[in-house]
């Protein structure tokens, strides 16, 4: 993918210089592979020997034009979507490759280096797989808008839920979309490139990207939720506890000491769920069980994902129950509250 992109980029600056640079200054920069261009990849800086050639001015204008318009993420998304469409016609059925190629090409055209191109391509390809797994649910909800509109409406946002990148992480990309999985990949890669939007947003995708494809697919398919947002559709991707590790459980509770202390009916343990998917609706406390010392969490029903939180020494369970509503916070309740690493509303 990168070589194809390099070819495209090279055309933009062809004839720009009369003399080949004997050194390729940055092996990761495809625009530097063109030894007829000067100083990195900035077409603003290339010259011809006379400095006044109408031909070089023309090519410089073309290069500058592409570079400037592709700095705009919306235009970049449109170009990427257009490439998706064209490549889908030329290579029907090669969704992964198309999503990856178009993302990489656009990244290259907009001045990215090879690392960025590969990253964009891999992201788009990976997310194609991920979203393809849930495309039945998603794409059916996405009909009726043009792809250009989709690009214009793309508006990733940071919410309190995702701002700190606490598990589970939520990234929301809102867009009315055409029912194409590769477009979903495009939107996702745009979210990935929008690092300025929120701290750690790129890190999220780094983590997704570093996961095996089946894990990504599993993450996405665990949360196929789509919801109407204005004229568009909100696509929510969450990293599940499974992606983060096996230590997270979800207890539906307000988070106060009373809500984290068992009642008389909880003699077998405080209830929780092994994943957000299995968690009860409402506010859930995300608990990292690796922080437990005197408590333990046991999944006692794999079908429902029900988890019981109990003292390791069950003879202390009644004492814990009796402490509910008392003036002091019981040590087990305190241990549980100390293990809360985030909250999520479902």
């Amino acid at each position: 993918m990168g070589c194809e992109t390099g070819t495209v980029v090279e055309r933009l600056s062809f004839d720009a210089s009369a003399r080949a640079d004997p050194i390729v200054p940055d092996a990761l920069n495809p625009q530097a592979w063109n030894r007829y261009s000067y100083v990195g990849n900035d077409p603003l800086t290339f010259t011809d020997p006379t400095g006044h050639s109408w031909l070089s001015s023309f090519f410089r204008s073309v290069g500058n034009f592409f570079k400037s318009i592709l700095q705009n993420p919306i235009v970049r998304a449109i170009v990427q979507i257009a490439l998706n469409v064209v490549l889908n016609v030329v290579l029907p059925g090669a969704g992964f490759a198309i999503a990856a190629a178009s993302a990489a090409i656009v990244t290259g055209l907009s001045g990215g280096n090879l690392g960025q191109m590969l990253r964009a391509g891999a992201l788009a390809g990976a997310t194609f797989f991920a979203f393809n797994a849930i495309s039945g649910g998603v794409t059916n909800a996405l009909a009726g808008t043009s792809e250009a509109e989709a690009a214009f409406a793309f508006q990733p946002e940071v919410t309190p839920a995702n701002a700190l990148m606490l598990p589970p992480v939520t990234v929301t990309a809102t867009a009315p979309l055409q029912g194409s999985s590769s477009v979903l990949g495009t939107i996702a890669s745009e979210a990935a490139s929008a690092r300025h939007i929120g701290t750690g947003l790129g890190d999220l995708w780094d983590r997704v990207l570093s996961s095996p494809i089946d894990t990504i697919s599993s993450i996405a398919s665990s949360y196929p939720a789509t919801k109407a947002v204005g004229a568009g559709v909100g696509l929510t991707v969450r990293l599940s506890a499974a992606a983060k590790g096996e230590n997270l459980i979800y207890r539906s509770a307000s988070g106060t000491p009373v809500s984290m202390t068992p009642r008389a009916v909880d003699a077998k343990g405080l209830s929780a769920a092994d994943s957000l998917k299995n968690a009860l609706p409402g506010k859930n406390q995300v608990i990292d069980t690796s922080k437990f010392r005197k408590l333990c969490a046991v999944c006692d029903n794999s079908a429902t994902g029900h988890v019981s939180i109990t003292p390791k020494d069950m003879s202390q369970m009644q004492g814990w129950i009796n402490s509910r509503g008392g003036p002091e916070i019981h040590p087990f309740t305190q241990e549980l509250m100390d293990a809360v690493v985030g909250t999520v509303k479902k």
Binding site: V158, P160, A163, L164, M165, L166, T199, G200, R251, S252, A253, S254, G255, T256, P257, V258, S259, R263, A264, L280, P281, G282, K283, N284, R324, G325, G326, M337, D338, A339, V340, V341, G342, T343, K345
Partner: protein, 133 residues
Amino acid sequence: MVTVVDTLWLRLHAMLSAFAVKMTTIDSALVREIRRTANDAFLLRGYLALRKSTQGEELAISVDIQTDGQQLVVESDACLDDGRVVADGPSVVVRLSESDQNVEAALNDWLHEFEQFLLKNESAVVAVLSKLA
């Protein structure tokens, strides 16, 4: 950071206390508790808890503050002890790279919203409290 959270909590405590007094005026049997906690992930977990008996159900108005060192995330809600959300409160993300004045202004705005949230949901809270077991 500690100063910001402490200052915010002082003002929150006053608001929650006033709200608790209102609720106990309506139902003098209510047990009320205002407390703040914290852990590795939360700078502040402050709440007003209201219940009819020690072992009974509880309604809590909670405020959580988290940070990653670059921003503060403040969230609030009114919620039953089993996690059912009665009302979502205001939330805000405050970038700590902003000037002190901007951070303070953002938190002031949030406090104002929180005060409005309490006022707006007063009758809903009373209705829920009346049904608590």
